[in-house]
């Protein structure tokens, strides 16, 4: 252990003893602003960072989702920019620590702030932002709201640099990107987690970046279509990947076993809500007891389950 790190630990231990701060702070106290994001190489030329399962806030710089990058012979593609410009810059730092090849693409897997609040950091690069064909529309109707609603938790300083930067290269159905002797397949999904989910498959290593189509540990959040998500699990399951980088959860994760936990949660949620609807239970009552037997299996269950149940109820009522 180096002297610097030991000092960091000692200092943090003191702060912890005094204030009872979370492990998040402990981890962050050891990295300083400007440090590269601590990414992990998960396959040849494929790097990822595992976000922590938490709500985005000032302490964690919004670093709650998984982000990554893939290095080809000519260029680099980044998958998601993270939850703040601070994280986006740290991600660029991690890339520059490993290659000086240009960042040709920044791929946004979907509209949520934890995945694209870092977009503005990439304006210092030549990266073309790539997204699902529905992503610009989704950002038009949500962007201003996101910028406002995260201000309390993230703080004015962290929010100051964050802007909504929409994609300019749009994917309908499927498309390929070439990084030089390295092909990526981008697939635009039908409404599932959101109505603008995009996944990335690296053919050289058979690594699959799922975006938030796959959650592990962190409760999945519903912002598109539960039925659409369930229906597309079989297609996801059929993708022949060696390993996956889920939107949230361990990196890498075994594929397709990575889908098992969310499939089970969706089935429980859908079945509870279908029963409530059939029994004539009003939405406001039904969502309180929904999927409670899944509670012990997930982090952030209390933060997101009622919301998922609300969206599921409204969708399933039309069956």
């Amino acid at each position: 252990m180096s002297g610097t790190t030991r000092r960091g630990v000692l200092k943090t231990g003191l702060v912890l003893a005094c204030c009872g701060m979370s492990h998040v702070r402990l981890a962050l106290a050891q990295s300083r602003p400007g440090d590269p994001l601590p990414v992990k190489q998960i396959a040849d030329g494929v790097f990822a960072f595992a976000g922590i399962p938490a709500m985005m806030n000032n302490q964690n710089d919004g670093e709650i989702c998984n982000v990554g990058f893939i290095i080809g012979d000519e260029a680099v593609a980044v998958i998601d920019s993270g939850g703040s410009v601070v994280e986006g810059k740290a991600l660029i730092g991690a890339i520059r620590a490993r290659t000086d090849r240009p960042i040709r693409y920044l791929i946004n897997t979907h509209m949520h702030p934890d995945h694209l609040f870092g977009n503005a950091a990439f304006e210092s690069t030549s990266a073309i932002i790539v997204g699902h064909r529905n992503l610009p529309r989704a950002l038009e109707s949500r962007g201003a709201y996101y910028l406002q609603s995260y201000r309390d938790a993230m703080g004015d300083d962290l929010m100051a640099d964050i802007r909504i930067v929409p994609p300019t290269k749009l994917i309908t159905d499927e498309d390929e990107l070439d990084l030089g002797n390295r092909k990526l397949t981008l697939k635009a999904w039908k409404p599932a987690h959101t109505d603008n989910d995009l996944s990335v498959f690296d053919h050289k290593t058979d690594t699959f970046f799922t975006g938030d189509l796959c959650f592990i540990g962190h409760l999945p959040t519903m912002d598109g279509s539960l039925l659409g998500w369930i229906a597309q699990l079989d297609i996801l399951n059929g993708i022949k990947a060696k390993s996956a980088v889920p939107g949230h959860g361990p990196i890498p994760s075994p594929w397709p076993q990575a889908l098992d936990a969310e499939r089970r949660y969706f089935d429980v949620l859908a079945s509870d809500m279908r029963k409530a609807i059939a029994d004539g239970v009003p939405m406001s009552d039904a969502v309180k007891s929904a999927a409670q037997r899944e509670r012990a299996n997930w982090k952030l269950f209390d933060e997101y389950n009622q919301r998922n149940a609300t969206a599921a109820f409204a969708e399933l009522e039309w069956e």
């Binding site: 949520h112 709201y145 406002q148 109505d195 959040t221 004539g280 919301r307």
Partner: protein, 283 residues
């Protein structure tokens, strides 16, 4: 023949439609604390009700909403009504979300013999906000109740989840009739509970057309009438604070054997109609 219900006043119509333009004006203070002073309401009430005095509801109307808006796009709100001999029946109820860009979510008008005792709908709630219901009784007096709703956490936004689906099924309606909770009463006198659902994006017009770069105009259900036979049960003038796929669950005095008719119109002038027989056996 279908006509959109006349606004109760020009000022209500103004609050319903013109304020749609003031879209990104979030009061920052509203995000910071618990139930605050009704500052926004104090500035708003004159626009909606003029100088007319507003009394506390004292149970004439009561409101239930979750303390936290789990999904900002779908916040269930329940209204219960009690007829008071002194004031007469409730003629109209105005539902307001103080901090929304279009605060007047809806104005409901009830038929003279509809006997509506309960109405549940779903709202968009943009920020920490009071949600309030103001009932006007037959004696012309206004009665207000309110509840405070905290904005949702995480990435929930008061926007459409599945835009293409909402547009593909525009205007499709569904009516559910729930079996009466009070058994053993005569069918002619007991309340019936129904739920009306309409597929509509009910959108705010915030989205930009990617080709033209112009904002797409707001597109929402602005008028709705529910009747049984020739009898008005309920009508609504609505705005964009009503959730996508507008949903109304209500209890009223049903008459066996007469059809339930629903007529709705949106801001693009599209009209939607449907009709369902109400069998005596389902009452």
């Amino acid at each position: 023949m279908f006509t959109i219900v006349q606004p109760r006043s020009r000022m209500v119509a103004t609050a319903l439609f013109v304020l749609v333009g003031a879209v990104i004006s979030f009061p920052v203070w509203a995000q910071n604390a618990g139930p605050p002073e009704s500052t926004t309401w104090n500035g708003l009430k004159g626009d909606v009700f003029g100088q007319k005095p507003i009394e506390p509801a004292n149970g004439i109307v009561s409101i239930d909403a979750p303390k936290r808006a789990e999904d900002a796009a779908i916040v269930p709100v329940d209204l219960h009504f009690k007829t008071d001999a002194g004031t007469g029946r409730i003629k109209t109820v105005t539902l307001i979300v103080d901090e929304n860009p279009s605060p007047v979510a809806a104005v409901f008008k009830f038929g003279p013999d509809a006997g509506v005792t309960h109405l549940a709908t779903r709202l968009r709630v943009n920020a920490y906000s009071y949600v309030r219901a103001i009932a006007e009784t037959e004696d012309g007096k206004l009665h207000m109740t309110e509840t405070f709703v905290k904005a949702s956490g995480g990435c929930s936004a008061p926007a459409m989840k599945n835009t293409d689906e909402a547009l593909a099924n525009l205007g499709k309606m569904k009516l559910r009739v729930f079996s009466s909770k009070a058994s053993g009463m005569e069918p002619m006198t007991r309340a019936t509970e129904m739920q009306l659902m309409i597929r509509h994006p009910n959108n705010s017009g915030l989205q930009m057309d990617q080709v033209t770069r112009y904002y797409i105009p707001a597109h929402f259900i602005q008028g709705l009438t529910v009747s049984q036979g020739n009898r008005l049960i309920m009508s609504m003038e609505g705005g964009i604070s009503i959730s996508e796929d507008p949903n109304f669950r209500f209890e009223f005095d049903a008459k066996p054997g007469e059809d339930i008719k629903v007529e709705a119109a949106d801001t693009e002038g599209k009209q939607f109609k449907d009709e369902w027989p109400l069998e005596s056996s389902s009452l």
